[in-house]
């Protein structure tokens, strides 16, 4: 019969044994191995170890190793670890020239609402508008009670039209009647930007339909 009973490998033959006893230095060396499986094993073991040194190494490796599957495993490990060190390690990546790297940093930060939230106000003052845009993107996933207040602050204060536009996109979904004055003010603040008129108008219409 051509369809035959297969056998999976026994867990003991296959699984996690190899990296169990490796030192931190050996794992860091493993990250540069030419063997993809060894690199992934090292990433996972560093994730299990945790702690700031491991997090720093993983954040740096995200920059060096452009292999997508390795990057995905690092992202999963960093998101699982969370904490201040991860946020700290990822912030510089938002300024990278590598679009894929910027976006993966955002994806991880989106998973860490409680670690990002306390720093949000300070971060939204970053001089680089692109970084502020990314942070508003992170807000999208924060599920934090202050999200609307932060967005209102952005559309009221930020001078960059694209930062405001990104915030308006999110207010379209989560804006309530308390956003109305700020939405109106944003339209007045950017009279020559049809996009602002369009998206703030859209948000107002949606909120209005609720009232």
């Amino acid at each position: 019969m051509p369809i035959m009973k297969p056998k999976t490998r026994e867990p003991s033959e296959a699984a996690d044994a190899p990296n169990g006893q490796l030192s931190f230095a050996e794992l860091v060396e493993g990250l540069t191995s030419g063997d993809h499986a060894v690199r992934l094993g090292a990433v996972r073991s560093l994730g299990i170890q945790g702690g700031t040194p491991a997090i720093d190494v993983l954040c740096q490796h995200l920059v060096i190793d452009s292999d997508r599957s390795t990057r995905d495993v690092i992202a999963v490990e960093l998101a699982r670890l969370g904490g201040e060190a991860v946020v700290e390690g990822l912030m510089p990546l938002l300024r990278s020239d590598d679009a894929a790297l910027r976006n993966i940093a955002i994806d991880i930060l989106k998973e860490l609402p409680t670690d990002v939230a306390p720093r949000m106000e300070a971060l939204l003052d970053d001089p680089d508008p692109d970084v502020r845009i990314f942070l508003v993107n992170v807000l999208e996933a924060l599920r934090h009670p202050s999200v609307e207040d932060w967005l209102v602050a952005v559309i009221t204060m930020d001078t960059n039209v694209n930062v405001v536009g990104t915030a308006l996109d999110l207010l379209n979904e989560v804006g309530s009647t308390s956003s109305v004055p700020a939405l109106r003010a944003a339209i007045a603040r950017f009279p020559d930007e049809p996009f602002v008129t369009f998206s703030a108008g859209n948000a107002l219409r949606r909120i209005g339909s609720a009232a």
Binding site: D97, D130, I133, F134, N137, V161, P194
Partner: protein, 123 residues
């Protein structure tokens, strides 16, 4: 009627571009990132792609590289639309396979002109 695929993760940007391009006489579809755009481009023939840069899962540059290297997709012109206006961003867009580069937010007149120009539609 010419078909345009708008690729952007921001809902309001897609709505805004859809409104502009629909009014200019295009049939419009939307995708929220590069992977979804490739799925659509494999199943339907588009005359123009309007591509954002920063998107989750697959950014605009990689979308364009994969699009341009995919023999199963009908190759159509692409406008890259970005919040970044530096020379290096433009260069990256050309290198990835864009035919035109615009900075965000777009103005309706400018986007319409470029769309007509790239699709060879007389105004």
């Amino acid at each position: 009627m010419k078909h345009v695929l708008i690729i952007d993760d921001a809902t309001t940007v897609r709505m805004y571009h859809r409104q502009i391009l629909s009014e200019a006489g295009f049939a419009v579809d939307e995708s929220i990132n590069g992977v979804e755009a490739l799925e659509k481009a494999l199943t339907k023939r588009y005359d123009l792609f309007v591509v954002d840069v920063n998107m989750p899962k697959m950014d605009g540059y990689r979308f364009l590289r994969e699009l341009r290297s995919n023999a199963d997709v009908h190759q159509a012109p692409a406008v890259m639309v970005s919040t970044e206006a530096e020379a290096k961003d433009r260069d990256a867009a050309w290198a990835a396979g864009a035919n035109y580069y615009m900075t965000k937010p777009t103005k309706p007149g400018a986007l319409t002109r470029v769309a007509h120009l790239l699709t060879g539609e007389a105004q």
